[in-house]
C-alpha cells in the first residue's frame, strides 16, 4: 500500500486536527505542545552537541591550537548551559511527560492546558535569551556561574545567559505545577495511586523537585545579575559577601536538578523493561517508594559538590553521609529492574537495547558516585575528568539513553508510524559503544589528575583525550542516525497499530496517534504491568495465556 493511500485511511487524530501554523502555535492540546517542546529540545541538543564536538576536537592535541582559550571556555559553557537547562531538564518531562501523563492516567488533557502552552512560550523566551547570548559573543563562566568570577571578572554576556536560565526555570516550575495538579486531580476512575505506571510516578517525583528547587536557582541567578549589573554587593568578598553562599544556593537547585533528569528516565526504563521482558515489575511498591525517597533525599546532598570549597569539615561529613543514603534507593531500583528480567520472556527491540544500556551505564555512574561521596577520594578527583565522566554516565548514559529508549518505545504512538527496527538497533548499539569509548577513558585521566575545563594540558594525558575524542566521533554519528530514520519514518514509515508492542498501560488502549481528546471510549483501568497472571502457569514460549 502506498503512503498516500494509508494517509487517506487515517482516522482523525491530533496531528490532523488543523494544519496551519496557528493551529500549532496556539494549541492547548498537550500532545501538540509535547511536539513543540520536542522540536525545541532537539535543536538545542544539536547546538550543545556541536559546541562540545569542537571542544573534543580541540583536546586531541595537548597544546591549545584549534581555538583560542577564550573560545574554548565559551564552548564548554554553552554546552553545559544548553544541555542542562534547554535539553536535559525539559527532555523527558516536557515531551513524553506532556504527551503521556494525561493519557496514562486516562485524562483528556493536563489540568491547565493554557498554562502548559505558556510553559512552552517561556521555554522559547529563555531560548531566545540564550541565542542572544550566543550572538553577543557567548559567555565564559561555566554553566555553574561561580562568583566572584561571574559577577566581578568575566567580561562576557553573563546577564543574558543568566536571564535565559531564570526564564526557562519558570517554564519548568509551571510544567511541574501542571503535572502535580494533573496527577492529583485527573486520574480516571479506578486509577489509584498504586496503579499508576512508574513513568507517571517518575514524572510526579520530578515535578516535586522542579517546583521546590527551581525557584531557588532563579533567585540565585537574579542575585548574580543584581551584583553584576547594579553593582550591589552580595557575594563579593571584597565588600563582605561570601562566594560560598552562592555555591550553597546554586547547588541547592543544581544537585536536585540531576534528579529532575534521572527520575523520569527511571520511569521510562521501568515501562520498557516490563514490556519487553513481558513481566510484572519486580517490587512495584518499592520502586515507588524509591522514586519518592530519591526526590526527597536528593535535597540533602548538595554539599558534596563543595568538599574542597572551604566548607566546614563537619558539613562535609553531613553531606557525605546523606550522599551515601541517596545511593541506597538508586541501587534498589537497579536490583529491581534486574530481577524483573528473571523468568521473563525478553525480546531485544531497540527500546529494550536502550534500557539495557541504561542499566549498565547508570550502574557505573551510580557506583562512581560512591567515590565522590567519600570525602578523601572526592578531594582528589573533584574538578577533574573523573567527575565529568561520572555525571555523563548518569546524565547521558542514564537520562539520554532513557530518552532515546522512550523515543523508540512511544514513537509509533506519537506519530502513528513504525521505524526501521534494524537501523534502530544498530544506532542503539553504536551509541552504547561510542559512549563508553568517550567517557570511560575520562575516569582514568581524572584519577591521574587531569583537571576539567582545561584548554591545554600536559602531554601525558593525550592518549586518553584521543581515545575520548575518537569515541565522541562515534557517538556523534550514533546521535545523527535516529534523526535520519525518524525523519524517514515520519513520512514513509509503515502505519503503526494501536499497540505495536502488546504493552499494558492506557496509552496503548487508544489509537496511534491518539485522537484530540485522547480516548473515544472510557479506558479500562487495571493493575499496571499485567503481562502475566499473578498466579498460575505461563506458556513456555513466554506468551500470555
Amino acid at each position: 500500500m502506498s503512503a498516500t493511500a494509508s494517509l487517506t485511511a487515517e482516522a482523525p487524530n491530533y496531528l490532523r486536527d488543523g494544519s496551519t501554523l496557528g493551529s500549532w502555535l496556539f494549541t492547548t492540546d498537550h500532545k501538540r505542545i509535547a511536539i513543540l517542546f520536542a522540536i525545541g529540545i532537539t535543536i538545542f541538543f544539536f547546538i550543545g552537541g556541536t559546541a562540545i564536538s569542537i571542544v573534543r576536537l580541540e583536546l586531541v592535541t595537548p597544546a591549545g591550537d584549534l581555538v583560542s582559550d577564550d573560545t574554548y571556555n565559551k564552548l564548554f559553557t554553552i554546552h553545559g548551559i544548553v544541555m542542562v537547562w534547554f535539553f536535559l531538564v525539559p527532555s523527558i518531562p516536557a515531551t513524553f511527560g506532556n504527551f503521556l501523563l494525561p493519557i496514562m492516567i486516562g485524562a483528556k488533557d493536563l489540568a491547565f492546558p493554557r498554562l502548559n502552552l505558556l510553559s512552552w512560550y517561556l521555554y522559547i523566551a529563555g531560548a531566545a535569551f540564550t541565542v542572544i547570548t550566543l550572538i553577543a559573543g557567548g559567555v565564559d563562566t561555566g554553566w555553574t556561574f561561580y562568583t566572584p568570577y561571574s559577577t566581578m571578572f568575566s567580561n562576557t554576556a553573563v546577564l543574558t545567559a543568566a536571564a535565559g536560565v531564570i526564564v526557562v526555570g519558570f517554564s519548568s516550575v509551571l510544567t511541574g505545577v501542571n503535572f502535580i495538579a494533573t496527577t492529583h486531580m485527573l486520574r480516571a476512575p479506578g486509577m489509584t495511586w498504586f496503579r499508576l505506571p512508574l513513568f507517571v510516578w517518575g514524572i510526579y517525583a520530578t515535578s516535586l523537585v522542579m517546583v521546590l528547587a527551581t525557584p531557588v536557582l532563579a533567585m540565585t541567578l537574579l542575585l548574580v545579575i543584581a551584583e553584576r549589573w547594579l553593582d550591589l554587593p552580595i557575594f563579593d568578598p571584597s565588600r563582605g559577601g561570601d562566594p560560598l553562599l552562592f555555591q550553597h544556593l546554586f547547588w541547592f537547585y543544581s544537585h536536585p536538578a540531576v534528579y529532575i533528569m534521572i527520575l523520569p528516565a527511571m520511569g521510562v526504563v521501568s515501562e520498557i523493561v516490563a514490556c519487553f521482558a513481558r513481566r510484572r515489575l519486580f517490587g512495584y511498591s518499592f520502586m515507588v517508594y524509591c522514586l519518592v525517597a530519591i526526590a526527597v533525599i536528593g535535597f540533602f546532598v548538595w554539599g558534596h559538590h563543595m568538599f574542597v570549597s572551604g566548607q566546614s569539615a563537619y558539613a562535609n561529613l553531613v553531606f557525605s553521609f546523606m550522599s551515601f543514603m541517596v545511593a541506597v534507593p538508586s541501587a534498589i531500583k537497579v536490583f529491581n529492574w534486574t530481577a524483573t528480567l528473571y523468568r521473563g520472556s525478553i525480546s531485544f527491540d531497540a527500546p529494550m537495547l536502550y534500557a539495557f544500556g541504561f542499566l549498565g551505564l547508570f550502574t557505573i555512574g551510580g557506583l562512581t558516585g560512591l567515590f565522590l561521596a567519600t570525602v578523601p577520594i572526592d578531594i582528589h578527583v573533584t574538578d577533574t575528568y573523573f567527575v565529568i565522566a561520572h555525571f555523563h554516565y548518569i546524565m547521558v548514559g542514564g537520562a539520554v539513553s532513557a530518552y532515546f529508549g522512550g523515543l523508540h518505545f512511544w514513537w509509533p504512538k506519537i506519530t502513528g508510524r513504525m521505524y526501521p527496527g534494524s537501523w534502530a538497533r544498530f544506532a542503539a548499539i553504536l551509541m552504547f559503544f561510542g559512549f563508553n569509548f568517550t567517557f570511560f577513558p575520562q575516569f582514568v585521566m581524572g584519577y591521574l589528575g587531569m583537571p576539567r575545563r582545561y584548554h591545554a594540558y600536559p602531554p601525558e594525558f593525550q592518549v586518553y583525550h584521543v581515545l575520548s575524542s575518537a569515541g565522541a566521533a562515534v557517538l556523534g554519528v550514533a546521535y545523527l542516525l535516529p534523526l535520519c530514520y525518524f525523519a524517514w519514518s515520519f513520512f514513509y514509515g509503515k502505519r503503526a497499530p494501536a499497540n505495536p508492542w502488546q504493552a499494558t498501560g492506557l496509552e496503548w488502549q487508544t489509537s496511534s496517534p491518539p485522537p484530540t481528546g485522547n480516548f473515544v471510549a472510557v479506558p479500562a483501568v487495571t493493575d499496571p504491568y499485567e503481562y502475566h497472571p499473578k498466579e498460575g502457569p505461563i506458556d513456555v514460549q513466554g506468551q500470555l495465556l
Binding site: I180, M185, V211, P215, A226, D231, R239
Partner: protein, 213 residues
C-alpha cells in the same frame, strides 16, 4: 446560570475544576515561597556575620512607610478575601467593588513604595561609593533591602494585573467571578504577596530600632 460557560477542557464538573485551580495555585505558592528562600538564607547568614552592620543599617529604613504599607497590604488582603466570600454568596456587584478597592490599595502601596525609594536614594542608601554607613555589612543589608522589596514589588504588580483581569472580565457578568475559579486562585496569590511582606517587614524595618544593640 449554567456551569457549561465556565467548564474548561479536561474537567467533568465545575466543582472539581475549582478544587484543582486552587490546589494548583497552592503548589505554585510553595514554589513562590522557595523563590524567597534564597533571600531569607542570605539575610540570616549575613546578619549572623555582621550583626552590627545590620542593626545600624536597619535603623536607616523608613519605619513610617514600612508600617503604613504593611497596614495597606493587610487591608487589601481583607478586601479580596471578603470579595471572594461575597462572590460565592452571590453578591457579585459588592464583590466587584471590593476587588476595585483591592486594586486601589495595591496601587497605593506601590506609590508609597515609590516615594520611599526616592527618599532612600536621596539619602544615598543605594550601595555604592556614596553610601553613608561605614559598618561592614551595612551595604549587604541594603543590597538585600533593594532586592527583597524590588522582587516583592514585582509580585505586587503581577497581583495587580491578575486582580485587574478579574475586575475587567467580570464587568458584564459578575457571576464570572464565582464561576471560573480564577477569583480563588488570584486571591490566594494576593494573600501570599501579603504574607511575604509580613515576613519582610520585621527583617527590613524593625531591625535595630531598640538602639545600639
Amino acid at each position: 446560570m449554567s456551569e457549561r460557560v465556565f467548564l474548561r477542557t479536561p474537567w467533568e464538573t465545575l466543582a472539581r475544576q475549582h478544587v484543582a485551580v486552587s490546589f494548583g495555585m497552592w503548589v505554585f505558592l510553595a514554589s513562590e515561597i522557595l523563590l524567597f528562600a534564597g533571600l531569607f538564607g542570605g539575610y540570616s547568614i549575613y546578619r549572623s556575620l555582621y550583626p552590627h552592620g545590620f542593626l545600624a543599617a536597619g535603623r536607616e529604613t523608613d519605619i513610617v512607610y514600612g508600617s503604613v504599607n504593611t497596614a495597606i497590604l493587610m487591608t487589601s488582603s481583607l478586601t479580596i478575601a471578603v470579595a471572594g466570600r461575597f462572590a460565592r454568596a452571590g453578591f457579585g456587584a459588592a464583590a466587584r467593588r471590593l476587588l476595585i478597592a483591592t486594586i486601589a490599595l495595591g496601587l497605593l502601596f506601590l506609590v508609597l513604595k515609590g516615594f520611599e525609594y526616592r527618599e532612600d536614594l536621596e539619602k544615598h542608601l543605594f550601595p555604592g561609593p556614596d553610601f553613608p554607613l561605614a559598618q561592614k555589612g551595612a551595604q549587604l543589608f541594603f543590597s538585600l533591602y533593594w532586592i527583597m522589596t524590588g522582587v516583592h514589588a514585582i509580585h505586587v504588580s503581577c497581583g495587580l494585573i491578575a486582580v485587574g483581569r478579574l475586575a475587567f472580565l467580570s464587568r458584564r457578568r459578575v457571576d464570572w467571578l464565582w464561576g471560573s475559579g480564577s477569583e480563588e486562585a488570584t486571591a490566594l496569590y494576593w494573600h501570599l504577596v501579603d504574607v511575604i511582606w509580613i515576613v519582610l517587614y520585621p527583617l527590613l524595618y524593625l531591625t535595630g530600632r531598640s538602639g545600639h544593640g
